[in-house]
Symmetry: C2
C-alpha cells in the first residue's frame, strides 16, 4: 500500500508541474484495518465555459509482480525492448494509459496550442482491489468536483486485436443465481436407500438442463425478447476484425459454438449467455463417493445485455424453474436466490463523445476504430454513467496481447507511438 | 492391531476348550507395513460323513471406540443395562454373533445332545478393514479346509426391525461410473466467453438428466428387462414388516418416493436404482465462482439385482449415454468409464439351507422369519458363494437399532435371550 501512496505523491507532483489543479481525496482506511487507502487524485485542467468538460479516468495502482514470477526484466523498472516496446508492470494496465493524459497536455504545450476541452481527472489507486471507496467518492463529488461534466472517457481497457484500435460501447451485466434443492437432513447410503428416496441431485440436473442447451441457447421463455438486434453492418464489421485464435477460444483450446467469427463475438458480447458454474452437495457430513446427497446447491449466471431488465428477467427465470420443478413431481424442496446482480452498459455511438473519440482515433491511427462490446463487466463504467448521468466512452489504449494481469513472465507492452 | 491378535489368542483358547480343532491361517502383513495381519481362525467341530457340513462365518474385530466418543460406559467392558441388554463395542457387530456359535456348542453339550451338523468355522479379524486377505484365503482353502462344505451361514448382519427376525436372501450389486466431458484445456471467464464456447457442464447436466427421473425410474432403455418380478406374496409380507420411520427414511428425514412401505422396500432392495453422486470440475486452476469449467467429471452408480448382467447393462448404459450425447450436438468430448463393479447376490429360499434357518428361527423365536433382501453389498457373501459354489444364508443376529458403527454414544445391544 505504501507503494501506492508513494506513487500518488509522484503523480500529484507531475500533474501540478503541468499546471493541473490537484485535490487528493481521502478515501479512509482499509476495512477493518488501520491502513490508509491510497487517495483518489482529482485534477482540473482548464475551466473555459465555452469548452466541453471531459472527465478522464485511469488508475495508478497495478497488479503485484516480482522478477521471480518469471519476468525477463525487473517488473518495476521500465525496460525498452529491441523492438521498441516499453515493458514493465502497469505499462498497459494502467500507468501507461494514465500517463497518456499528461503526455497529451505536454504535447499541446509543446505545439503551443490550447487544449480544446476542460479536463477533470479521476485517477484511482484501488482499481486492482475492487475500486474500494470509488463509488462513494463519485456520489460525493457528483455535486462537487464532478458536477459539471459533459462526458466521461475511461482509459483502462485494451484493443480487442493487436493491430487495430477500437472503442467499447457495451459491457454485459450479470445475474448470479444460487439454486438449492433440499431432500433430507443428511446424506444417505445409495446401496441401502437408492430407489426409495427422492434424490435432490436428480431434480437439480433436470432443472439445470432446462436452462440452456448445448448450442448455447437459453431455454427460459421470453429471455431474448428485449435484446437489441445486431445490425448487418455491425455484424460485417465484427467479422472483419483480425482476432487471434487465442482471443477467440480463450487461449485454452475452447470449442467455439459458432462457425463465423462475427457470430462468436456477438454471442459473447451482444447477446445474453447462461453458464452453469457448479453443482455441489450442501448437506453436512463427509460425503463418501456412493452417497445420495441430501442437499444440493448449484450456481449459474446470466450475462445480460441491453435492454434486458433485471426484475423482468428474474421473474422469467424463477417462473421457469418453479414450473419445471413442479413438472418433475419431486418431493424435495426448491429455493432460488438471485445472489448477485450488475447492470449492462450500452452507449449510443452517435453521441458527440463517441464521434470525437472516432475522429481522434482516425487522426492518430489512420483507420476508423472498430466499435465493439465486451462480454464481461466493468462496474466503474456503469457507476460513472449512472452517478454522473453522462455519456461514457471506453477508449482502449493497450493491445490484445499485453497480458496485463499475467504472472507467467510475458512482457507487458506499451507502444509509445 | 495387537488388540485383534490378542483377541485371536483368546478366541482360539475358547474354541479349543470346547473341543474345536483350530488352525490359525497367517494372512501376511498389512500392505506396505511390517505389521502382521490378525490370523484367519479356521475351526472344525465334527466330521461325521452322514451329517451335512456347515461353514459358519463371523468376525472378531470391531470398529474403534472410546469412552470419550460419548459412550455411557467403557465400550470395551461388557456392561449389563437395567433392561437386561448387554452393551459394549462389538456386542452386535460381530463378537456377540460369533460367540453364539460357541454358546450353541456349549448348549448342546449341556443338554447331552449331539450337534446335528459338522461345523467349519471361518472367523475373520479384518472385516472392519475391508476383509483384507480373506478372498485369497478362501480360494486357497476351497481345496483345503473348506473343500467339503455343504452350505454357508453368515452371522454378520442385523434384523431389519427390532421385533421380528428375518433371513437375508439378496444383496444388490453395484456398477460405479465416471463420466468425463472435456471442452477446453482450462476454465474460461463466463463474462468474456459465455455464449461463444461449448460448455461441458451444459452437456453433463443433460446427460445426467437422461439417466433417471425424479420418481426414481431409470431411463436407460432395457435396464429393467431381466429383473425378477416380486411376487404378490412377498410384497404382502414386506408390507407387514414393522419398520421404524428411521429405518425407512434413513433417519435423516429423507423423502420417500413411494406411498406404500412394501414399494419402498422393493425399490431399495429388489429393484435396480441409479443415484447421481456428484458433478465436479476437473480442469486445472483455481476455479472462481463465475467460470465456465473446461472439464467436468461426474460420478453415478447403478445398484443391480438378480438377474442383471454387468456386461449387458454396461452396454445399455454406454449406448444410451453416447446416443444422448450425439443428440446434444455438442462439440465437446465424452468418455465413460465403468470404474467399479460388484455382482448382486440372490439365493433361492427353497434350498434346505434356508429351510433349516427358517425352522430354527421358528423354534427359537416362535415366528416365521421375514425373508428380505438388502440394498447394499456384502462382498464376502458373494465370495463364499462363488468360491465355494455353495448356498449361503445370511442369518441376522443383532437388531435394527443396534447402531453397530455408531460413535454418538448410543449403546449397542445384544439381547441374550
Amino acid at each position: 500500500m505504501s507503494n501506492n501512496i508513494q506513487m500518488a505523491k509522484w503523480l500529484v507532483h507531475e500533474m501540478e508541474s503541468l499546471g493541473i489543479q490537484v485535490k487528493q481525496k481521502d478515501l479512509g482506511k482499509q476495512p477493518g484495518k488501520d491502513i490508509d487507502l491510497p487517495p483518489l487524485i482529482i485534477g482540473r485542467y482548464g475551466s473555459d465555459p465555452s469548452k466541453p468538460t471531459i472527465l478522464a479516468y485511469s488508475h495508478y495502482d497495478v497488479q503485484p509482480a516480482a522478477l521471480s514470477d518469471g519476468w525477463d526484466d525487473e517488473p518495476f523498472e521500465l525496460t525498452q525492448k529491441e523492438d521498441g516496446r516499453l515493458c514493465g508492470r502497469g505499462t498497459s494496465d494502467d500507468k501507461g494509459p494514465l500517463l497518456n493524459w499528461l503526455n497529451m497536455i505536454q504535447a499541446f504545450k509543446k505545439a503551443g496550442q490550447d487544449v480544446p476541452a476542460n479536463l477533470v481527472f479521476c485517477f484511482e489507486g484501488m482499481e486492482e482491489s475492487g475500486s474500494q471507496g470509488l463509488a462513494d467518492a463519485l456520489k460525493e463529488e457528483s455535486t462537487g468536483e464532478f458536477a459539471k461534466i459533459d462526458s466521461v472517457c475511461i482509459t483502462d481497457t485494451a484493443w480487442s486485436t493487436t493491430n487495430r484500435p477500437n472503442l467499447i460501447r457495451g459491457l454485459r451485466g450479470i445475474m448470479f443465481y444460487h439454486v438449492n434443492i433440499d431432500g433430507a437432513d443428511g446424506d444417505a447410503h445409495s446401496g441401502a436407500f437408492g430407489g426409495s428416496l427422492s434424490e435432490p441431485m436428480t431434480d437439480m440436473v433436470n432443472l439445470m438442463a432446462s436452462l440452456v442447451d448445448s448450442r448455447g441457447k437459453i431455454l427460459v421463455p421470453g429471455i431474448y425478447d428485449d435484446v437489441i438486434p445486431v445490425s448487418a453492418e455491425e455484424r460485417k464489421a465484427l467479422g472483419e476484425i483480425e482476432m487471434s485464435k487465442a482471443s477467440l477460444d480463450g487461449g485454452i483450446n475452447g470449442k467455439l459454438l459458432h462457425e463465423d467469427q462475427a457470430d462468436n463475438i456477438i454471442a459473447r458480447s451482444r447477446k445474453p449467455a447462461l453458464s452453469l458454474h457448479g453443482i455441489e452437495r450442501a448437506s453436512p457430513g463427509k460425503g463418501a463417493s456412493t452417497i445420495i446427497p441430501g442437499r444440493i446447491v448449484s450456481r449459474f449466471s446470466i450475462r445480460t445485455v441491453a435492454n434486458m431488465n433485471i426484475a423482468k428477467i428474474d421473474e422469467l427465470v424463477q417462473t421457469h424453474l418453479n414450473d419445471k420443478f413442479r413438472q418433475l413431481g419431486s418431493k424435495n424442496e426448491l429455493s432460488i436466490q438471485l445472489a448477485g446482480r450488475g447492470d449492462w452498459f450500452f452507449e449510443e455511438v452517435d453521441h458527440w463523445n463517441y464521434q470525437a473519440a472516432i475522429q481522434a482515433t482516425e487522426k492518430v491511427w489512420g483507420v476508423t476504430p472498430n466499435i465493439t462490446a465486451e462480454g464481461g463487466s466493468i462496474p466503474i463504467a456503469l457507476d460513472f454513467k449512472k452517478v454522473l448521468n453522462s455519456n461514457v466512452v471506453l477508449l482502449p489504449i493497450g493491445r490484445a496481447d499485453d497480458h496485463p494481469h499475467s504472472e507467467n513472465g510475458k512482457c507487458l507492452s506499451f507502444v509509445n507511438s
